[in-house]
C-alpha cells in the first residue's frame, strides 16, 4: 500500500522511512525534509464465516498523508491515491479487492501562512478469502 502511494503522480515522498512509515507517528516532529510524509497504521480485521469453513477477511488500514500544501493540492493527492487504487484493485494479486472507504482533510496551524501543514486521513479496506 505504501508502494502504491509512492507511485502516485505528483506526489514525491522522501525515500525510505524518511517518507513513509508503518506506524502512527508524532507528526509535529516531522521536519520539512520529511514532507510529504505517509503513516500507514492501525490494521483492523473482521472475519465472516463462509460455507465449507472458509472465511472472508476484511481489513481496514489508516493512511495519514502529511504535507505542506494547499487544500487544492491535498485534494489532488487524494484523487491521485484513489486513481492508483482503482488501477490496482488487487495490490498486484495480494488481495481480492482494495477500495477507499473514507477520506478526511484536516487543517493544522490555522494561522500559519500558506501552504500550511495539512493531513489527509484515508481509510482503505482490503478483502481476502481464507480457508
Amino acid at each position: 500500500m505504501i508502494a502504491l502511494v509512492r507511485g502516485v503522480a505528483g506526489l514525491t515522498l522522501p525515500t525510505g522511512e524518511a517518507g513513509a512509515e508503518r506506524r502512527a507517528g508524532p507528526s509535529e516532529e516531522l521536519s520539512v525534509s520529511a514532507m510529504p510524509h505517509l503513516f500507514a497504521h492501525s490494521p483492523a480485521s473482521r472475519e465472516i464465516q463462509l460455507d465449507f469453513r472458509q472465511r472472508e477477511v476484511r481489513t481496514t488500514y489508516t493512511l495519514e498523508l502529511w504535507a505542506e500544501a494547499t487544500q487544492e493540492q491535498m485534494s489532488g493527492h487524494r484523487d491521485g491515491i484513489k486513481t492508483a487504487i482503482e488501477a490496482d484493485r488487487t495490490l498486484g494479486g495480494r488481495v481480492l479487492d482494495l477500495h477507499l472507504v473514507e477520506s478526511l482533510l484536516l487543517e493544522t496551524g490555522a494561522t500559519a501562512p500558506e501552504p500550511r501543514r495539512r493531513v489527509l486521513a484515508l481509510e482503505v479496506e482490503t478483502l481476502r478469502e481464507e480457508g
Binding site: 464465516q49 463462509l50 460455507d51 465449507f52 469453513r53 472458509q54 472472508e56 478469502e129 480457508g131
Partner: protein
C-alpha cells in the same frame, strides 16, 4: 431386495468414478450441512441428499409398487491455487455433468430399476461461495427390488 441405502451407496460409487480421480472425490460426513466441513483446495467433495419418494407403480398393475428415491446430488470443488473458475466449470465439471445427465448413467446402476424423472439442473444450481464451486442436480429413481 436392494434397499434405499444400497441404492445410495451404488450411486455414490458411480459418482466417485465419474468425477476426476485427481480431485479425490469423497462423500462428506454430512449430506445436509455445508458450513463446518472444509473442502481442500483442488479436491471435490459431494453430498447425496436422498429421501423416500412416492411409490412407483409397476407397469399397469395397481397391485405392485416399488420404493422410490428422490435424490439431490451436490458436488463441491475447491479451486486450486491460482486456478481460474472457468478451468473447472467448462472443463471437468462440464464433462461430469454431461455424463450424469445421461439417463444411461443411472440405468447401468444395478440397484436402479427405473428413472422416474430425468436428472436435471438449472442455472441457480451452479453456484460459488468463496473458492468452492457447487453444482447440484435432482433425480427420482425407482429402486430395483431384485438387485
Amino acid at each position: 431386495m436392494a434397499t434405499a441405502q444400497q441404492a445410495q451407496d451404488a450411486i455414490a460409487a458411480k459418482l466417485e468414478a465419474t468425477l476426476p480421480s485427481g480431485t479425490t472425490p469423497t462423500r462428506m460426513a454430512t449430506d445436509l450441512s455445508t458450513d463446518l466441513q472444509p473442502v481442500p483446495a483442488g479436491k471435490t467433495r459431494y453430498q447425496l441428499k436422498a429421501w423416500a419418494g412416492p411409490r412407483s407403480e409397476v407397469g399397469d398393475s395397481n397391485l405392485i409398487y416399488r420404493p422410490v428415491l428422490d435424490i439431490l446430488m451436490r458436488v463441491h470443488y475447491h479451486l486450486g491455487a491460482g486456478e481460474a473458475e472457468r478451468t473447472w466449470t467448462s472443463g471437468s465439471m462440464h464433462s461430469a455433468l454431461e455424463a450424469i445427465l445421461d439417463p444411461g448413467w443411472w440405468l447401468t446402476i444395478s440397484e436402479v430399476f427405473y428413472l422416474d424423472s430425468f436428472p436435471g439442473l438449472e442455472e441457480t444450481d451452479v453456484s460459488r461461495v468463496g473458492r468452492v464451486i457447487t453444482f447440484q442436480l435432482r433425480a427420482r429413481v425407482t429402486v430395483d427390488p431384485n438387485a
